[in-house]
């Protein structure tokens, strides 16, 4: 590994890290949900990049396809669907519990990180090299269909259930449905 590759690798990592961080912060703090979605997209792409750096090619691909392709798009659909009302007016109601919760969470996170750093061996130990088969599609495929067969099938079932659930919940009410007792969600008129 020549020093330049080292430097390139370092730079690559730092760029991706900062980009991921900004994406996360945008997602969290953006007023307009669309801008938030875009931040999310940015973060997902950079994490895919990091995957590549960590020899997880298959995962980087999956990340791009599933996350960027499907989930972020789904978010955009819903945001578009809800239209202007999806942006929440900013008023101070109920501020205190949220900030207390957030503050504590942040504190806990920082404390955890400080513990990790305290125990981390001083010099960052370099990572041994790895064969290029590591993290490739066929290695992944071999594992998926030998050890991970059961979880694989289960996750497919999970996805199927999720779809049906989403459809059922989001579908709303139609005239020929059996009359349930006076539920508030009667004839959703858009």
């Amino acid at each position: 590994m020549s020093p330049t590759e080292m430097a390139l690798g370092q730079a690559y990592f730092w760029i991706c890290a900062t980009l991921a961080l900004t994406g996360a912060i945008i997602t969290v703090s953006a007023k307009n949900p669309i801008r938030g979605a875009m931040g999310l997209l940015l973060m997902i792409l950079t994490i895919a990049g990091l995957f590549l750096a960590l020899h997880a090619q298959f995962l980087a691909a999956i990340q791009l396809i599933v996350y960027a392709g499907a989930i972020v798009v789904l978010f955009l659909f819903v945001i578009m669907l809800l239209g202007p009302s999806s942006t929440s007016p900013h008023d101070g109601r109920g501020r205190l519990p949220r900030y207390v919760g957030a503050g504590l969470f942040a504190g806990a996170g920082v404390a955890a990180m400080s513990l990790i750093v305290r125990n981390a061996p001083q010099a960052p130990k370099l990572v041994a090299g790895v064969g290029n088969d590591f993290g490739s599609v066929d290695a992944f495929g071999r594992i998926l269909f030998s050890h991970g067969l059961v979880p694989f099938e289960l996750s497919s079932a999970l996805l199927m259930v999720a779809i049906i659930g989403a459809v059922a919940v989001a579908r709303g009410r139609h005239k020929d449905d059996p009359k349930t007792p006076a539920s508030p969600t009667s004839e959703g008129h858009e």
Binding site: S85, V127, S155
Partner: protein, 101 residues
């Protein structure tokens, strides 16, 4: 090469930012998105650790399934948000307090 600890530190930071976001924002969509951020952070940590123990792909396989679960979760989450919107005309989470005492 980049020591694994950096990746783990990055995923910790991302995780914290996602958590703070989830707790602070009252918009349900943003909450869902911050969950996404947290889960991605976890994926990153998994892959990073797997990178340092290269004798098996467990970390990555785990991340893979995590992505699958995440997809399902988002689908259902958004469906709920839609029906919530139909009922309350808003996505503000603190208006949906039917369960009030």
């Amino acid at each position: 090469m980049i020591p694994v600890e950096y990746y783990v530190a990055l995923s910790a930071i991302l995780f914290t930012v996602g958590g703070v976001g989830f707790l602070v924002r009252r918009n349900v969509l943003v909450a869902l998105m911050s969950i996404e951020v947290m889960l991605n952070a976890v994926n990153l940590a998994l892959v990073a650790f797997n990178r340092s123990h290269t004798d098996a792909h467990t970390g990555q396989v785990f991340a893979f399934f995590l992505i699958a679960a995440e997809a399902a979760e988002v689908a259902v989450g958004l469906a709920i948000v839609l029906s919530l919107f139909r009922v309350r005309r808003t996505v503000r989470s603190d208006e949906a307090d039917l369960l009030k005492n």
